[in-house]
Amino acid sequence: MAAAEGSGGAGGPLFAGLADVSISEDIPVEGEITVPVGSRSPDEDFSTLDEPVRDTIMRDLKAVGKKFVHVMYPKKSSALLRDWDLWGPLVLCVSLALMLQGGSADSKDDGGPQFAEVFVIIWFGAVVITLNSKLLGGTISFFQSLCVLGYCVLPLTVAMLVCRLVLLAGSGTVSFVIRLIVVVAMFGWSTLASTAFLADSQPPNRKALVVYPIFLFYFVISWMILTFTPQ
């Protein structure tokens, strides 16, 4: 406090003369307050309300398509994690459940899973795995994890398609062996792809604890695909 008084009284070089300034109350103070912006903000000329509907849809479709490509070639890119969306998982889940439909419903209770059961297993399983990884201390957000797990069902959906085509040709031992090889390969691909995306967000001494439920999840889906027998 002693130092502050000293500089004010001596009229230091910074604030010289300000002590004498007073604003009279008769003079109205007016002007414009503008924030000097270097460039125009992007929102001004990019209103999604004005663009054609086709552009809106194509933008989302391209994002979904790009994520599909990322799943099939799981390099260490973070596009899946950064911009999550749940369109892809929904499409995959619905198509997988539709293809698993109608599996040997001759007897009342011994058939394959129904549409609702596949749907619930995939979504409930993904939620449980996400909760598990968050409870173990993972840093990934809830919807990002759901997005990754849903998109990594893509190889298994491809396997289901292949299995149905093979079953059209016949259902003997040869077709079973082909289906087994395809399903096992796609199961490995799904698990490796999702592990590549999710394992980095976990504490290092708990990685195995997080990867194992993912393995179990895709194993159950693979089992449902492999045991599909058309009626």
Binding site: S104, D106, L135, L209, L216, W223
Partner: protein, 311 residues
Amino acid sequence: MATVDDLKFQEFDDAANLLAANPDATTISIDEPVEIPKNQHGRLQEPGREEDDELLGTDDSDKTELLAGQKKSAPFWTFEYYQTFFDVDTYQVLDRIKGSVFPVPGKNFVRLYIRSNPDLYGPFWICATLVFTIAVSGNLSNFFIHLGKPTYHYVPEFRKVSIAATAIYAYAWLIPLALWGFLMWRNSKVMNIVSYSFLEIVCVYGYSLFIYIPTAILWIIPQKVVRWVLVLFSLCLSGSVLVMTFWPAVRDDNRRIALATVGTIVLLHALLAVGCLAYFFDAPELDFPAPIIPAHNGTVNKITMPVSPSV
């Protein structure tokens, strides 16, 4: 005002020197929980209970209560509260699984492995794995048993997954709840040294179910003798873990009640194994020639009678 000298850091003498100066001072020593420093016990011990202390870990229980008080301080509606139940590393989970499969005679599973850090990861995911293992193995076993028959049409039997899930999760959560309630009730009547929290009981039950996973896979082998040997073997292993955990908790009670409790625990465990074997796995069929019955149009039919699906 404190002088500058008083605020300087002082080196403390070695504990031995201090004790030599003042032999009557109270001392505290912190040991490994497995060891039992006998000079720390305030009460007299009978020689027969020394071996039981390893089961009880009474020296451990004071510290575990302190630790338990520090850990779960978050209110139950926050996410952090539930994170305290998943505070385990990979090697800890593997150690607990190993401890449930290879029971060390005389060592208490809870005191040795859980040590006031019960987790829900093990029980939940072991039960989930067991559900799917039993359903898949049962399906495979039935497929192989009925493989050669021309009338057999393979069915995935997906409904059995939900039945298995209900049975196993009910066993792994309701039985510990009942057991915990029963132990709490007996604790109010008889002063027990050992009392387990609900989560520790859930933990023991969850990890003790692990042995059934490889057992269920081996049940695919369609031989009755093999299946029953597996049942007995796994029942012995996991049953012994449960018995060694819960015997110290009921030992001080009335003799009959203690034996009845431990007997019920083992019986329910056996019932789960036998029930799963009976319901999900068809019996391997025995083809024995039935008496030849002449059909109406004169041709002779030989009938083979399959054994009804019971073990």
